[in-house]
Symmetry: C2
Subunit: 440 residues, 2 copies
């Protein structure tokens, strides 16, 4: 039962890493061997966790790190609850209406990737290793497809899409006057006073513009920052000689300051854990309970959601949400509709508008994010330069809201490549072509 | 993070222990110090897992064994999913109708415990440390009450009530001709050929009449059989020097034969794990999937259920089900109604009848089970000598079906005392008094 350390390294990706280092020197160096294709890595075909019990070479486990290794991720991402403890995000009542008007002309829609490859919408599904995609146009499901280990009534890890839910709660609490985003983190969470976050404003945290000693780099070896975050969060076992923080909040407490807050956007997951801590204090309840009360129950979500928790029950707001794909589509559509869902107000219009509005584009420029030129990052939401708002998580998770095209897309995936930076060259042109086709 | 070994010992209780040893020498010896009362041990009042994060002295954890220690169990039993990995038992569609006709005259119903104490129905709630009770009379909810960490839309560990669900699936597969209960275990699970279970019939396993080298005794020290079962099942961490089985099925494979099968009923949890293995082979799907397809979905259960899984995803059919209390009441009522629920057939009438029918009373006699004189145990269901059928799990879990009284009671509890043997002196007279009152 040796803990394979690559776990923590690969897992780091799971946190949505778009580090400054990556921005400067985009993935290059030695080319990795070509991974299995989507078809070759189909988890049912590969037999992961099939059989009672599954044979040793078909097991996907938490304790040996295999749950975070491709191609095992193609099974694990749809089954995190069976690998780790989770908090429940409760739903209630009958599932809310989600109108369906499927179209059979979409698979043939052609587009060209940013790298010049010609594909169709239908072919793109495997190209980004999708486990499920739903497209809403004018509020109706026009396309829905699943693969591998994900079923229509299942759940899939949302990775850093989780962060956008945390950001939404923050905007909501601020709108209600309960949270002042211009106050410091320490004023809400005194335990963080001596950490690097203490004198940052809540807004700087929500926009990831804090200056902290944390490198969201996952290609290093040994106990990198990301490895420590992973272990602390309970996402990976602690090596025998590990003596670092053992829960999410202890981990962010251990992070020191490094420079001046308020500079450029730099993607660092611990900001979200800090925002979650503030929200739990201000809202007076754990993240899962607030998500249930504010979103899952009022929206009539189809399925409960779960969030991975650490060893003392703190949810991993940075990336631990496991949700149903239709529910992700519902959430995106509710925001597109200005906070309304099936005639019921879920979010104040001002909150929905804030989510849909671009933030500080100058602070985003240095990321040199291909396909998102002219975009921004604010309150844990991404904005393209062309009017779309996105929640995104590594390995291909995305909620894509295109108000001009009246289109919302939710996608879960288990791509062998972590960063959406490397998946977007297919994703963004595909989504744009679909929008154009639906509205022509 | 030292593993307190008492965990495994206390936990053993969680498996429903009614060992032969206990039968011969009923609980006595040195009297334990009086535990906290229900009121004193109220988990909200005690503050377990409250705060973000909960302070050290308010944490309930898997890795230090506190999740299985009273009074922490008063919180943990309603929150197992946040402590351990779980498989999902899916539901679908709107929750099925459960008629409510609450009565306010029940709390005052008086009765006398088997030990001569005078209590009322209302007082009994705390006397057995109930977390929730529902009473159905003629199919309608006449009483419903929750306490502590359990809410109407929550889940609670069912402990060995789980076994009765496994038994029900076995009866169903047998009724459909897919399972021949007179065949040997080895004929369905060749991996068990060389174990103590290999030449037992499936029926002997379902009735716990196998002769195996396993002592369901939880007062021992060190690596007792029960401690090993607990560790293998992932319910407790493995001590550093442990080199025994590390999953549920490997554990039952390691159990040797001890005598002749077909003797008296002796309560030994591994029988259920073996039956589960047979059922997963015959039914071609994991326990959670079969429960969803056969019971949770067709019955329109209110909430998903979860089952604790070991490190390779095998459910703990011996006691790991976490379910909603109303759903437990629905299940009991469905059986009382001969397999029908809201006009829909869930189980063949023959299966429901088999569950309601007493088994071999002679094989049960030696247990000397106070209050269940003249009763029996068959296909993982308990029968009193007076016509009631019960699913029961330690620390006070029970589904109680009284056909003559047209009454079904479901109760979850977190009693400091493990064995229902010691809780029944209150439970059985209370339930009998309520039945008489409802039908007078």
């Amino acid at each position: 039962m040796q803990f394979r350390f690559t776990t923590a390294l690969l897992l780091a990706a799971a946190l949505g890493a778009v580090s400054a280092a990556q921005a400067q020197q985009p993935q290059a160096a030695k080319p990795a061997p070509a991974p299995l294709s989507a078809e070759q890595s189909d988890p049912l075909r590969m037999g992961w966790m099939q059989g009672s019990p599954p044979p040793i070479d078909k097991q996907v486990r938490w304790d040996d790190g295999s749950a975070f290794q491709f191609p095992q991720t193609r099974w694990a991402f749809s089954n995190e609850q069976a690998l780790m403890p989770t908090a429940t995000v409760r739903r209630e009542g009958p599932a809310s209406r989600l109108e369906v008007a499927l179209r059979d002309d979409l698979d043939a829609v052609p587009f060209q990737t940013l790298d010049g490859q010609k594909l169709t919408w239908g072919e793109a599904f495997d190209a980004y290793y999708a486990d499920g995609i739903i497209v809403l146009h004018k509020g109706k499901v026009v396309y829905e497809r699943y693969a591998g280990a994900l079923q229509p009534d299942g759940r899939h890890i949302a990775m850093s899409v989780t962060k956008s839910f945390v950001g939404t709660l923050a905007l909501l609490l601020a709108d209600e006057g309960k949270l002042d985003v211009n106050k410091t983190v320490a004023s809400y969470v005194p335990e963080l006073t001596d950490s690097g976050f203490g004198d940052a404003t809540v807004q700087q945290v929500l926009d990831m513009r804090t200056a902290i000693e944390f490198d969201e780099e996952y290609t290093g070896t040994g106990l990198t920052d990301v490895a420590r975050m992973t272990i602390a969060g309970g996402l990976a076992p602690a090596p025998a000689d590990y003596d670092g923080p053992m829960d999410n909040y202890a981990f962010v407490q251990s992070i020191e300051k490094n420079g001046r807050h308020g500079g450029d956007f730099v993607y660092r997951t611990p900001n979200t854990n800090v925002a979650q801590w503030v929200i739990e204090r201000v809202g007076g309840a754990p993240l899962a309970v607030q998500l249930a009360a504010r979103i899952w129950k009022p929206m009539g979500m189809d399925q409960e959601a779960t969030i991975i928790v650490d060893r003392i029950g703190t949810a991993f707001g940075g990336g631990g949400l496991n949700a149903n794909l239709r529910d992700m589509a519902r959430f995106g559509e509710m925001i597109r509709q200005g906070g309304m869902w099936n005639g019921k107000r879920i979010l104040p219009e001002s909150v929905a508008r804030a989510i849909l509005a671009k933030g500080d584009t100058k602070a985003f420029e240095a990321t040199k994010y291909r396909g998102l030129e002219g975009g921004s990052y604010s309150s844990f939401w991404w904005h393209s330069g062309k009017g779309q708002t996105m929640a995104q998580g590594v390995f291909g998770q995305i909620i894509y809201i295109d108000p001009a095209a009246e289109m919302v897309i939710a996608r879960f995936a288990s791509n062998p490549v972590a960063s959406n930076r490397d998946i977007h060259p297919i994703t963004l042109p595909a989504f744009a072509a679909l929008a154009a086709h639906l509205n022509r």
